[in-house]
């Protein structure tokens, strides 16, 4: 028996060691690569020049704007619908669930082909109609609304799951009835009673969405826009060291955001109990 336990411990150690090496080596090597000056010394050139690189701030700002608007649109669309399904129209619930799962079935590249197909209708068939102007307007490179549509769709399944998990933990129906018994209107009941209870679920959905938008590359690059991820890619082909530096930074940012999120979640849980 003791030998068996020893063998299990040994096996566990081996598995953890091998996986640890596999996951740590690329991180360490990239970090080293980003500060290696190829003469045996270290240099932080890649990190300091980052801020002055052409297009860096523009693309980052565009990405952040896209992320912000996507989160706003997504929550404004999704939250009322999900609350309505819980409160007044239970038959809507399976419909919303199926709709929100559908984007999972369509790979992003395929969705992009569909979007391009729609955009081509503009010059092909709609030249003389007001729709043509709309199609031109949503492709404005300064602020491509078409990307927001795509991102909201891509984020729907994840945001739905996050908010649904939050709704499971809160008895929305009772909350609203209690608020209404106290004389609050529907809007007020939802805004001041239900939403504060869903805060961590909404935060969760928002963070997932932000992470998705900041990292999204496929649609933006195929449609020819230049948010941050596309900038990293095109810039990386000219300056390898800087691109690795940006990659490391973006990993660090995602990690920090997730840590912050779990810390907030834990803090709230602790405060409740």
């Amino acid at each position: 028996m003791a030998r068996l336990i020893d063998r299990i411990r040994f096996g566990r150690g081996l598995v953890l060691l091998l996986c640890g090496v596999y996951f740590a080596v690329p991180l360490a090597a990239s970090l080293y690569f980003s500060v290696d000056d190829n003469k045996g010394g270290t240099t932080f050139r890649a990190y300091t020049e980052l801020l002055n690189a052409p297009g860096f701030t523009d693309s980052l700002v565009l990405s952040l704007e896209l992320a912000g608007v996507t989160v706003a649109v997504l929550l404004l669309l999704l939250v009322p619908a999900m609350l309505a399904a819980r409160l007044g129209a239970p038959r809507l619930r399976p419909v919303i669930e199926v709709l929100c799962s559908l984007p999972l079935v369509v790979p992003v590249v395929a969705l992009t082909t569909g979007i391009i197909g729609v955009l081509r209708w503009g010059p092909d068939y709609l030249q003389d109609t007001p729709f043509f102007q709309t199609i031109v307007a949503i492709q404005d490179p300064g602020f491509p609304i078409v990307l927001i549509i795509a991102y909201v769709l891509m984020a729907l399944p994840f945001a739905y799951r996050a908010i649904d998990a939050g709704l499971r933990g809160v008895d929305v129906v009772t909350l609203v009835e209690a608020a209404r018994n106290c004389g609050a209107g529907w809007l007020r009941a939802v805004l001041t009673v239900v939403l504060p209870n869903l805060r961590s679920a909404l935060l969760n959905a928002a963070v997932l969405t932000v992470a998705l938008v900041l990292g999204e590359f496929t649609t933006a690059s195929i449609l020819g826009f230049a948010p941050f991820s596309v900038w990293i890619s095109s810039n990386g082909k000219s300056d390898g060291q800087m691109s690795v530096a940006v990659s490391m930074l973006s990993l660090l940012i995602v990690w920090l955001v997730l840590l912050l999120m779990s810390a907030v979640g834990r803090g709230r849980k602790a405060a409740r109990s």
């Binding site: 096996g11 090597a29 290696d36 669309l77 999972l104 790979p107 590249v109 129906v173 990993l251």
Partner: protein
């Protein structure tokens, strides 16, 4: 590509969904509440009308944002494109036939092969890793690994590609140190790409399978050992059969994630490894013969069909595995 976070079992709580029905949902304990009840049915009904309205924007958005592209794919895949000699718009199956031939078939098959291989390896590696972590005595370690997995599983895309170029690319640090090029190593091949994909697939497997592993009762193991089973027999006859639906479900999820991935391969290997997502990107940038503009839509349709098949396997499995975790 964004990979799916941990799947949530979809068992709807019937009590809550039925709660909106009028009737004795809330007993009114005080007299004031009872008197306040009188105008309620009317307002309730009004609220119900609002309820449909509140979902309307989402439905509308879905019709425009998802419905239109879907229609565009469905129509485009079966009609000639506008740059065709006949002016476009006539029914044809030529796009679909072409999308399943030659280089495109090679790419589709390459994508399926890559996804099958990486999903299989990630499943086989992810299970022992998740088990080693889940049974660890150190809570901090478990949480650290889980949070790291959460980050890495969502860490596809361009940064991942550059990280591996810096590590194992032609002038990568590890390649230079170990002289891997002399041994025939190249990152920009099928096997190189597999190594990269595993970097986000293994963590994804760990996240997916850990709830199932935590659902394995200690009593089952003890009962098996008390009956004289060896560790191997316990896994062979007790643990693996229980885990099988979750494992298969996880495998399918990984297949989907790997199949749909685009950014990593695009930033890293370009089109030196034939993949269907690369071919679509190529075709969309106008890199096709004249008159074949709609080929990309047919390729997209191919991808959706494969992904649908995958989901058709995944959903029932997920439901089955949810039973054990209850």
């Amino acid at each position: 590509m964004t990979t799916a976070p941990t799947p949530v079992p979809a068992s709807a709580s019937a009590a809550q969904s039925g709660g909106g029905a009028p009737g004795p949902a809330t007993p009114a304990p005080t007299a004031s509440a009872r008197t306040a009840k009188a105008p309620r049915p009317g307002r309730r009904r009004a609220g119900r009308g609002h309820a449909w309205l509140a979902a309307l924007p989402l439905l509308l958005f879905f019709v425009i944002g998802f419905g239109l592209p879907a229609v565009a794919i469905a129509i485009g895949a079966f009609t000639t494109s506008s740059d065709a000699p006949d002016g476009g718009g006539t029914f044809t199956t030529a796009n679909l036939t072409a999308s399943l031939q030659g280089a495109y078939w090679t790419a589709l098959w390459g994508s399926v092969k890559l996804s099958l291989l990486t999903a299989l390896i990630a499943t086989v590696v992810g299970l022992p890793l998740a088990q080693a972590v889940a049974t660890s005595r150190f809570r901090m370690f478990r949480e650290a690994v889980m949070s790291a997995s959460g980050v890495l599983a969502n860490f596809g895309g361009v940064p991942l590609a550059f990280m591996f170029v810096a590590t194992l690319g032609n002038s990568g640090e590890v390649t230079k140190k170990l002289g891997l090029t002399a041994h025939g190593w190249s990152l920009y091949t099928f096997s190189g790409l597999s190594v990269v994909y595993l970097y986000f697939l293994v963590p994804l497997m760990v996240i997916t399978i850990t709830p199932a592993l935590e659902g394995l009762r200690v009593q089952w193991r003890e009962a098996a050992y008390n009956n004289g089973a060896t560790s191997l027999q316990y896994w062979r006859h007790v643990a693996l059969p229980v885990l099988l639906p979750s494992l298969l479900g996880g495998f399918v999820l990984l297949f989907g994630a790997s199949f749909a991935a685009y950014a990593t391969a695009e930033a890293m290997v370009g089109s030196s490894v034939p993949l269907i997502s690369m071919q679509i990107g190529d075709a969309l940038s106008g890199n096709v013969l004249v008159g074949q503009g709609n080929l990309a839509l047919a390729l997209g349709l191919d991808m959706i069909v494969v992904a649908c098949l995958v989901m058709a396997v995944y959903l029932p499995l997920q439901r089955r595995s949810a039973k054990w975790l209850a």
